[in-house]
Each structure stands twice: as C-alpha cells, then as structure tokens.
C-alpha cells in the first residue's frame, strides 16, 4: 500500500491530526509517521487518486488543521511514497533541511492576495486620467455611438489605458503590502489576475496585514481584492525565491 504525504512537521507538534479524514472516497484515515525529531502527516494513498475537488479540499484541510497547532511544511498535492518506510527514510536523510525550514517558518502563515479591476470603476478612472479618451467617447456618443473605425480607435485606446493601470496597480499593491509581510512570492502565472501575490506573515501581525489590505482597498476603489488566509506556507517551503522585506514594525 503506497502512502500519501500531506506535510512534514516537528515530532513535538502538540496537535497532530491523527484520525482525521484525508484524501480518497471513502476518506483515508490520517496518521503520523515519526522519525527522529520529525513527523510526516500521511494516510494510505487511495487507488486511482486524481486531483478532484474533494481530494484537494481534504489535502488543504489536513494541512490547515496541522498548521493551526504548529509549523508545517505543506507538500504539493498528490505526493505519494511507495510505503511508510520510504517516508521515514526521507525524514531521516533530509532531517536537517526540514528542521531548518520549520524553524524559518515557525509562527508564520501565508496570505494570498488576488486583484482584478472593477470594470466600470476603472473605466471612470481611465476617463478622468485621459482627456483624449473622454473627448473621443463624447464625440462617438454625439454621433450615435460612432462609426466602426471610431469605435475601434476608442476601444484600442481604452484597452491600452486599462492595461497600463493593471501593471501600475499590481506594482502598487505589492509595494503597499510588502512592508507588512516577512516575505513575498509571486503566485502561479497566467491566472487572469492583474496581481496574484502570496505574502508570508507573522501570525502575530496578521491583523496589521489585513488592515493594510483594507487601506489598499479604500485607496483603490477600482480594484477588487481577494484575500485568502491564513494558509499553510505553500509558497515559502523552499528557501531562496522569496525576497526578504523590511520587518513589520508598526501599522502600514
């Protein structure tokens, strides 16, 4: 029977989610493999496991539960080991690395922030920033919508202006939130957001981070901001790519 691995945590973790329902249908029972100072949160791997909603949610829930009690290194969905012994072997072999990461991530959680434009609001903004766009809009309107070429020209101008705003807003969001986080990581690309960023945030200063998001929201009424967290630190398990930010000191 192969073994599904959810995450790696300290053996001293006070509330390991033993017996919780994991991936599979029926849900496989979550158990713990301990090796030295480390523990792996695992279950039997169901036959024919696929990334279905039920299973993705189970993976996320087991990690959320584990993360609530102490630092955890979340595995990417779908990690399967040949057996329990191989899991223990990995814990033994790479123990120092895992322990270093667990120390680095202790007390920290991930917040993912995604942004899109509110279409109508961003059009108003573009209109107010760009007299040419406004003039052409008014001319087209006076001409009952304008001819094909006029409409094309206006549309092209507006699309270019909106795209510029997307890039500017993405930069502004990162700039505003970075000081309230310990690290930032760009989310997976091609997702259709003008900004998709993950922030590593101290649990202790999470309220400050949320308050900063609220400020950005208030200052950018043409943005739709979606915040998800606290999450296990999916985007920060590997050292390196995240840029260190200034430590959060006060609000802002």
């Amino acid at each position: 029977m192969s073994t599904y691995v959810y995450g790696i945590t300290a053996g001293s973790h006070p509330a390991l989610p033993d017996g919780m329902g994991g991936v599979g249908d029926p849900a496989q029972e979550v158990r713990v493999i301990k090796e030295g100072d480390l523990a792996a949160v695992v279950s039997d791997a169901p036959e024919g496991l696929r990334p279905k909603r039920r299973d993705l949610l189970a993976h996320q829930n087991v990690l959320a539960e584990t993360g609530a009690g102490g630092p955890v290194l979340p595995m990417r969905f779908g990690s399967v080991s040949p057996d329990d012994a191989a899991v223990a072997g990995v814990l033994a072999e790479r123990g120092d690395h895992f322990k270093e990461r667990l120390r680095a991530l202790a007390g920290k959680v991930e917040y993912n922030v995604k942004a899109t434009h509110d279409e109508e609001a961003v059009l108003h903004r573009v209109m107010s920033e760009n007299p040419e766009v406004r003039a052409l809009t008014e001319a087209n309107r006076a001409a009952g919508g304008g001819g094909y070429d006029d409409r094309l020209r206006l549309g092209e101008m507006v699309v270019a202006a909106v795209k510029n705003r997307e890039a500017e807003d993405a930069a502004e969001i990162q700039q505003a939130l970075e000081p309230a986080a310990a690290a930032v990581s760009a989310g997976p690309e091609s997702t259709g957001w003008l900004a998709n960023l993950s922030f590593l945030v101290d649990r202790e200063s999470a309220e400050t981070f949320i308050a900063t998001v609220e400020e950005v929201r208030k200052g950018h009424p043409h943005l739709d901001l979606r915040v998800h967290g606290p999450l296990p630190p999916y985007s920060f398990v590997e050292p390196g790519p995240s840029e260190p930010a200034e430590p959060a000191e006060t609000d802002n």
Partner: protein, 150 residues
C-alpha cells in the same frame, strides 16, 4: 486556523474560495523527488479564469460600447448599472480573435473544476466554509455563468 478573526476567504458563494487557493495546492508546496506525484494530466485549472483584458478587435468594440454606456457625470463609484459588462467583455474576448497566451484558455475546463462545480451543488454545506464578502463579485458571477454554459 482561527487565530485571525478577520479571516477572509471566498467570493460571492460557490466554490470560488477553494478555487482561489487550488492553484497553490497544485502548484506550490514541497516537492520531494523520492515521492511520485499523481498525474495532473488535463488539469488546466490555472488558465480557466480569463478575466484580464485581452487585446482583440472584439474587446476594442466592446470597450467602446462600455464607454458609450458609461455615465460620464457619475463618480468612480460602484453602481449596479452595468452588472453584465465584465462578463460580456471577457467572455467574448476569450472566444474572439484574442492574441497571446490567453487565447482560447477559457475553453479548457479541467476535471477538477467541473468536479468542483458539480460537487458544490451536491454539497451545499461546504459552502458555509467560505464567508461571503461584502461586495458583489460581478466578474466572478459572470465567469461562473459562462462555465455553466459549457
């Protein structure tokens, strides 16, 4: 995970809350070469949600129309005047003569996402996991409606 009272998850109902973090579950997290990973063939979930503005003739014309309908005297506040506009633009943009990497992406619906929609209907209790946000999500609503057409 109850440390932060202001936890914010989810959109205007549905499975969008989970959807927003799926990409992290699928694309981030620790990978150990001694373990194998289940096949993700057919999972294009990261590219479904085409909401960015795409440069195409179709998009230009729809934006021109949007400007034409815009109340130029109103401030940049949200008003319920154009509830379907976002969806119209992005849907047609993705279907139309769009250029670039996003072309046609909206047509690719993954197993996981179909599953997520089906199950979100079957298992309404799970919806209570995500708190509803105070503001309406026009574009989410629109894109979800599009997915249901397919």
């Amino acid at each position: 995970m109850t440390v932060v009272p202001a936890q914010q998850t989810g959109g205007g109902g549905g499975s969008s809350g989970l959807y927003d973090v799926l990409e992290l579950v699928l694309d981030r997290g620790l990978v150990i070469d001694a373990f194998i990973r289940v096949s993700l063939v057919g999972i294009e979930i990261l590219k479904i949600d085409v909401r960015v503005v795409i440069a195409s003739v179709d998009t230009y014309l729809r934006f021109a129309e949007a400007c034409n309908r815009l109340d130029l005297e109103a401030g940049p506040k949200r008003s319920p005047g154009l509830p379907d506009l976002v969806g119209d633009i992005t849907e047609s943009g993705a279907r139309g003569k769009s250029k670039g990497a996003l072309s046609g992406a909206a047509e690719t619906i993954s197993d996981a996402f179909k599953q997520s929609r089906e199950q979100s209907r079957e298992e309404p209790r799970e919806e209570s996991r995500s708190e509803s946000r105070p503001r309406a999500r026009k574009s989410t609503t629109a894109s979800r409606r599009k997915e249901e057409q397919e």
